[in-house]
Amino acid sequence: MATATGVYHTSYEADLALRKTRAEWIRLGLIVLLVVSAPFLLNPFWLTVANQIGIAIIGAVGLNILVGHTGLISLGHGAFLGVGAYTSAILVTRLEAPTLVAIGVAVAVTTVIGTFFGLPSLRLKGLYLAMATLAAQFILLFAFRNWDFITGGTDAIVVASPEIFGFTLRTDFHWYWVIFGVAALVVFAARNLFRTGLGRAFHAVRDQDIAAAVMGIHVGRQKLLAFAISSGLVGLAGAMTAHYRTIVTWERFTLDVSVLYLAMIIVGGLGSVAGAVYGATFMTVLPAAIQQLARNVRDTIPMLGREIPAIQLIVFGLVIVLFLLFEPRGLDRTWQRVKDYFRLWPFRY
């Protein structure tokens, strides 16, 4: 219960609730309103961007469970995305599996492969683990490109628009509802995870692994579980990309993608579910915005129009450097500060 002088709880249920004040509920309502009205207001270009944001949210929340919440770095998540995409695409094209089944199997396969490549985390930490997962990235990419008999090699796999419960998902508008429905479920599940004992154990392993072991947490099992959940969610994002884009090629799952996803959670805020959402949104909107901007000024400043890819890269790097310098805890922290400012307004403290 929120009173004029603060938050007052009379039950543990209320103390554990995600949203405690009316302001928080209103904010959630506004976000829901924004998400529901967006597809009716956006033009086709931005609707595509919105769908990419939705998929990026699923992947970023998944990666953050591993990196931000459990403190294990992975440079292999770009390839895990590919495992999800390839598995689902192959099942649908070769075995003519129903899309939902294919996506389910893809999540399971990515979970297993992600957990397998997480095994080095039982012995390695920090930079060494980064190198071990980098190996996973290259091994899997090699498999995508060279195992012709499974993946079709460097040729793209073309997937038909999926049919779910007799309804064919063809347009961005249709996909929007599916993608954001799944993304909302993933965000909710992740928030729930971190208010239960299992999520606390992940944080314990991140903060102080010896103390975690002495408190009865099986550190190794916990690390592998983090890899499993994380790669499972990334596999889900990958499978959805495959069916949404209707084309799967190895070029979409390179090291760049791993780094892009890491950038999302760093910019958004490590160890925060909301942060992963902010980061995924920001890092997807940024290149699109630069592209649009360059297109608009193409006639007045032709140089800008030609150099879009270079400008995108420069801005991308600049943003990460600036965030590390000025807001290392990401957009989530920025948002906390904004909230604190208005909570105390008109006073400074």
Binding site: L16, A204, M215, I217
Partner: protein, 277 residues
């Protein structure tokens, strides 16, 4: 245990006074360094057993062997239970040792600094909880019921240690003395059979020491929890412990009631230097 506390913090059902922790001829080496040499001692259910000794005597190494963090090259550490054969802790990994009821507070605070006091204490309940990925994702239903059920015991520990006011505070921001108290609380939430405290009063002022001594005595007297305590403050050790074991250079010199240990010639030689008066 009477009072308003509904949960029994003692995880052992042995009769008070029976042998609970049996350390037998433990030897621990790091390369050429002999950290522990033929150390044998018994800890009985319900006692406060202090381990003292000069710096580098091997006190913390012995606790680490009990916790399963170090694996001694020789000897056994047996944890006796009322319902089955004893467990050899020298062949058990730390997380399993905790499950068997051995809880630990560290010398240099090893709390989870980015978490609140409540989360730290709830982690003390980890071994008593069921953890399913799907139930955690779903939250409403079994997961929430479990959180609330375990929260009741945690709140009793919070009341017991008088840290109600900082329940939701992040541990890293708390004063040193309170952090020490939270760490003892986290170990208590495990409902331990044996509570290992590594210098719980180090770096505290007199008032904080008195508080901590009171908590240790309460845990022992009201709940009946066995306490194994490393402490440098001799007044505290002599005041609150029932038996004292003295280590020096990795060897045990003696075990006995504080009054006997105080006058033991080897202890005076090794620990206090020369006899005064």
């Amino acid at each position: 245990m009477s009072r308003a506390y509904r949960h029994n913090l003692n995880g052992s059902s042995l009769e008070p006074g029976t042998r609970q922790l049996e350390i037998e001829a433990v030897a621990l080496r790091f390369g050429g360094v002999q950290a522990l040499q033929n150390v044998s001692l018994d800890v009985c259910q319900g006692e406060i057993h202090a381990i003292i000794g000069p710096n580098g005597a091997g006190k913390t190494s012995l606790l680490n062997c009990i916790s399963g963090l170090y694996r001694p090259q020789e000897g056994h550490i047996r944890l006796h239970r009322s319902d089955g054969p004893p467990h050899d802790l020298t062949r058990t990994r730390p997380s399993r040792v905790a499950r068997l009821g051995v809880a630990r507070a560290f010398q240099n605070i090893e709390l989870f600094k980015h978490m609140t006091v409540l989360d730290n204490l709830m982690l003390g309940r980890h071994v008593h909880m069921k953890h399913s990925v799907w139930r955690s994702f779903l939250y409403y239903g079994p997961a929430r019921r479990q959180e609330i059920a375990e929260r009741q015991l945690v709140e009793e520990v919070i009341d017991f240690l008088e840290i109600q006011a900082v329940r939701h505070a992040h541990v890293g921001a708390l004063p040193y003395g309170v952090q020490k108290r939270v760490e003892v609380g986290r170990a208590l939430c495990l409902q331990p059979a044996v509570l290992l405290l590594d210098e719980p009063m180090a770096g505290m002022n007199t008032e904080e020491k008195e508080d901590m001594a009171r908590f240790i005595l309460d845990v022992n007297a009201l709940a009946g929890v066995t306490v194994v305590l490393i402490e440098h403050d001799m007044e505290v050790v002599m005041d609150i412990s029932e038996r004292v074991s003295v280590l020096d250079f990795g060897r045990k010199i003696t075990t006995g009631p504080p009054a006997d240990v105080k006058t033991h010639p080897q202890v005076i030689e090794a620990y206090l230097g020369e006899e005064v008066s």
